[in-house]
C-alpha cells in the first residue's frame, strides 16, 4: 500500500507555512454592498486585509461642480442612502453657512425631528443586518417592522421613503402634515418597548456575546489617529458627539445624554447604538412638545450666488461626522464640493482591526463599523 503523499512530513510542513489569499466580495452578503476585501490568511487567522472600494463611485463631487446649489441637494441623499435626511441636513446647513442664512425656529425643530427619526431608522437597519451577519436572523424582521413605521412617516411628509430630499436651503419646503405629531408620539411610545425586545433577544445572548465581545478592538487613541467618529469613538470611551460639542439646528435646547462605553469592541458599539436610539426618542418627545409656529423657510434668493469663500460644516450623522467643504467662486455653481464621509474614514480602520482576527470575525467587525458603500464610494 502506497502512502498518501499528504502524510509525508515534508508535505505537511509545507502546507503549514502556506499563506492563503482569499478574495471576499464585492458581491458578498456580509459586506453590505460592494466592498471587496483581499484577505491574507494563515489558517483561520487574518494576517492582513486590503480594502478595494469604488464599485459604487458615481463622481458625486464632480457632479456638484456642474449643478447649482439647489440642484445638487437631491444628489446628497444618494450617498448614505439609509440616512438621507442627515445628508440633506448637513448640505443645507453648509450652504446656509456659506450664504449666512439661518433656518427659522420651526424649520429647525422639524429638522431635528426628522434627523432623529432617521438616526433610529439607520441604526435599525444596521442592527437587523448586523444580527443577520452573525447568524441571528430574527432581529431583522423586528427591526424592519419598526423601520417601516419611520419610513411611512417620511412618506407622509414628503412622498419619499429613502431618498427623501426632505429639507431645502433655508428651511423646509413642506410644513408638517395633519396628524404628524400623533403618529410620531405613537411611534415613540411603542418603540420604547421594541428596544426592550431587541435587547432581550441579543444583549445577554451567549452566542451574540461570544461573537462580539473583545472582537475588533480599537482604542480611543487609535480612533483619534484614524479620524474615527460616531458610535465607534464613543464605544472607545470618548464622549464626543457633535450635537453636544458644536450644536447645530437647535440641538442645545434638548436634554439628552451621550452614550459612552469603554470596551472599544464590537459589543460596546452595539450597546452604544442601542442607547443612542433611546436618546433619539427622548429628543423626539421633547421636540414634539414644543414645535414653534411661524415661517418654515428663511429669505433665500431664488438665484443663489454665494460670495466667494469657503466653509466646512459638519453634523453628527448616524455613522459619525459628516462634513461638507464648500468653495464658492461667486457663480451659480459650487467651485468645489467636498464630502467628508464618515463611512469611508471609519472603514480605513478595518485594515488595522482585522489583523489577527478570525475570518468569521471580519464579518462582525465590518458589521459594527456600520458602513454604507454609497457613502464610502460616493
Amino acid at each position: 500500500m502506497t502512502e498518501h503523499p499528504l502524510t509525508e512530513p515534508a508535505m505537511i510542513d509545507h502546507l503549514a507555512e502556506q499563506e492563503i489569499v482569499l478574495n471576499m466580495g464585492p458581491q458578498h452578503p456580509s459586506t453590505h454592498g460592494v466592498l471587496r476585501l483581499v484577505l491574507k490568511l494563515e489558517g483561520e487567522r487574518v494576517k492582513s486585509v486590503e480594502c478595494v472600494i469604488g464599485y459604487l463611485h458615481r463622481g458625486v463631487e464632480k457632479i456638484g461642480e456642474n449643478r447649482t446649489y439647489a440642484q445638487f441637494a437631491p444628489y446628497v441623499d444618494r450617498m448614505d442612502y439609509v440616512s438621507a435626511v442627515s445628508n440633506g441636513l448637513g448640505y443645507c446647513l453648509a450652504v446656509e453657512k456659506l450664504i449666512n442664512v439661518e433656518a427659522p425656529p420651526r424649520a429647525q425643530a422639524v429638522r431635528v425631528l426628522f434627523a432623529e427619526l432617521n438616526r433610529i431608522a439607520s441604526h435599525l437597519l444596521w442592527l437587523g443586518t448586523h444580527a443577520l451577519d452573525i447568524g441571528a436572523m430574527t432581529a431583522l424582521f423586528y427591526t424592519f417592522r419598526e423601520r417601516e413605521d419611520i419610513l411611512k412617516i417620511f412618506e407622509n411628509y414628503c412622498g419619499a421613503r429613502l431618498t427623501t430630499h426632505a429639507f431645502r436651503i433655508g428651511g423646509l419646503q413642506y410644513d408638517l402634515y395633519e396628524g404628524f405629531e400623533q403618529e410620531c408620539a405613537k411611534f415613540c411610545e411603542s418603540f420604547k418597548h421594541r428596544i426592550e425586545d431587541y435587547e432581550k433577544l441579543l444583549t445577554q445572548n451567549p452566542i451574540w456575546q461570544d461573537r462580539l465581545v473583545g472582537v475588533g478592538i480599537l482604542n480611543a487613541e487609535d480612533c483619534k489617529r484614524y479620524g474615527v467618529s460616531g458610535p465607534m469613538i464613543r464605544a472607545a470611551g470618548e464622549a464626543w458627539d457633535l450635537r453636544k460639542a458644536q450644536p447645530y439646528s437647535g440641538y442645545e435646547q434638548y436634554d439628552f445624554d451621550i452614550p459612552v462605553r469603554t470596551g472599544a469592541d464590537s459589543y460596546d458599539r452595539y450597546l452604544v447604538r442601542i442607547e443612542e436610539m433611546r436618546q433619539s426618542i427622548r429628543i423626539i418627545e421633547q421636540a414634539l412638545g414644543r414645535i414653534p409656529g411661524g415661517a418654515i423657510l428663511a429669505k433665500v434668493p431664488k438665484v443663489l450666488k454665494p460670495a466667494p469663500g469657503e466653509v466646512y460644516v459638519s453634523i453628527e450623522a448616524p455613522k459619525g461626522e459628516l462634513g461638507y467643504f464648500l468653495v464658492s467662486d461667486g457663480t451659480l455653481h459650487p467651485y468645489r464640493v467636498r464630502v467628508r464621509p464618515p463611512s469611508f474614514i471609519n472603514l480605513a480602520t478595518l485594515e488595522k482591526m482585522a489583523v489577527g482576527a478570525l475570518v468569521a470575525d471580519v464579518v462582525a467587525i465590518i458589521g459594527t463599523i456600520d458602513i454604507v458603500l454609497g457613502e464610502v464610494d460616493r
Binding site: G227, W240, P308
Partner: protein, 178 residues
C-alpha cells in the same frame, strides 16, 4: 457649465488674530504663515514643504489631535494650481482649524500619513481625483477609480461630457450620444 477657462476666484477672508496665531508665528519665525478667517472659520496657509512640521506642532503642542479631513481644490489659472486643504480638530479646545498649502502641477506634497494614519486613504483619494502626488506615501495608488482609469476627474479641465465620450470611445468603440 463651469468648465471653460476663466480667472480663478479670489476667496474672501478677514484678518484672524488670536493667541494661537501669535504662538504659531513665534514657533515658526522663518516661515511665511498667513492667517485668515471666513464666516468664523479660521485657516492658516503654509509653504507645502513645511506642512508636516506645522501639523506636527499643532498636534503635539496645540492639541489639534484629530485629523478630520484632507482634500484638494484645483485653481488651474494660478501657477500653484493645487491647494491642499486639511481640517484639524482639537478635542481639548473644541476648535477646528483649516491648514492649507499650495503647489504647482507635477510637484509632490509631503505625506501626512506618518503623522495621522487617517491621511493614508484620504491622500490616495486626492491622488486618484487630482493626480496630486504625496512624497513618502506608503501605498499611493488609486482609491475609488479602477486601476486602469486614465486621467484624474476632479481636475477642472476634465468635463463630465468629455470623460464620458472618451470612455465610451475607448471601451465600446462607438460615439457616445451625449
Amino acid at each position: 457649465m463651469s468648465q471653460e477657462a476663466k480667472p480663478d476666484p479670489v476667496m474672501a477672508s478677514e484678518a484672524w488674530e488670536d493667541p494661537l496665531t501669535e504662538r504659531l508665528s513665534a514657533a515658526f519665525p522663518n516661515l511665511h504663515l498667513s492667517f485668515g478667517k471666513f464666516r468664523d472659520q479660521a485657516f492658516v496657509s503654509v509653504p507645502a514643504a513645511d506642512l508636516p512640521a506645522l501639523v506636527t506642532y499643532l498636534r503635539d503642542q496645540e492639541q489639534y489631535d484629530y485629523f478630520a479631513d484632507l482634500t484638494v481644490v484645483d485653481y488651474p489659472a494660478m501657477p500653484e494650481r493645487f491647494e491642499l486643504v486639511v481640517h484639524l480638530y482639537s478635542f481639548a479646545h473644541n476648535q477646528r482649524l483649516r491648514v492649507k498649502a499650495r503647489l504647482a502641477d507635477g510637484q509632490s506634497f509631503p505625506t501626512l500619513s506618518g503623522l495621522f494614519p487617517a491621511a493614508n486613504w484620504l491622500e490616495r483619494e486626492a491622488y486618484d481625483m487630482f493626480g496630486v502626488t504625496f512624497a513618502g506615501h506608503p501605498n499611493l495608488k488609486r482609491m475609488l477609480l479602477p486601476y486602469d482609469w486614465q486621467g484624474h476627474p476632479l481636475r477642472k479641465e476634465n468635463s463630465i461630457i468629455a470623460m464620458d465620450n472618451d470612455w465610451v470611445k475607448r471601451h465600446l468603440g462607438i460615439e457616445s450620444g451625449q
